[in-house]
Symmetry: C2
Subunit: 131 residues, 2 copies
């Protein structure tokens, strides 16, 4: 095996991500599921951010029937564990499992290799002098 | 079908994402592929940001053999088109296709439902007075 390569090692200070890609069953009202997900992440503080998308672009051969991407970000792996065991998540998962035809789920600490220029932290403003 | 639900409609001002999940063939030196990807995104300005991760957590039943996630972000869909047709991308894709056992690819405009608190733009610092 090759030697380890330095890939920048920006592990986002311990961030953890939860990725789900799904194909919904026919006749499922996807908007209702999205609304449920929106409510879920709003109710669980451990979820730092949540974004989703629907593929309308790539070739069917490449997306293999999957249509939707759900990506949650947590400040740390422990927060993901909190989310996983949260009663509201478990309640939602029970519903979710009935509306999907197939899914793939990947949980991982992300490594940010190319940082968006806008993400550069601004210079810290000078501290206000003590009164 | 249900009526459309207002899901916040934060479409990130036209951002576009390119998600790839893969299972590599055995004996592939994944670090070499990662290094190649790092070089690729560094060389193509159209790629705004790039992050990747390796799933070491979820159940095999759920991840279905997939191990790696690659996620690129573009400022707009046109930038993704530039990336897709870039000679260096096409060159890399030819190599990439030889090292993967399977992949799923999804391209989508992301909708950010829950915004990380830190993402709020900082107050603009006061302009320095003219000299």
């Amino acid at each position: 095996m090759g030697s380890a390569v330095d890939l920048g090692n920006n592990n986002n200070m311990g961030e953890f991500k939860h990725l789900v890609i799904v194909k919904f069953k026919e006749d499922v009202v996807v908007d209702d599921i999205l609304k449920g997900l929106e409510n879920l992440v709003a109710e669980i503080d451990a979820v730092k951010s949540f974004e989703w998308g629907q593929d309308l672009e790539s070739q069917e051969l490449l997306r293999q029937g999957f249509t939707h991407v759900f990506l949650m970000t947590f400040d740390k792996k422990d927060d993901y564990a909190v989310f996983q065991s949260h009663p509201k998540h478990q309640e939602f998962s029970a519903i979710f499992s009935t509306v999907i035809e197939k899914l793939v789920l990947l949980d991982f600490p992300p490594t940010l290799v190319k940082t968006p220029p806008k993400a550069a932290p601004p210079e810290a403003p000078p501290e206000a002098p003590p009164a």
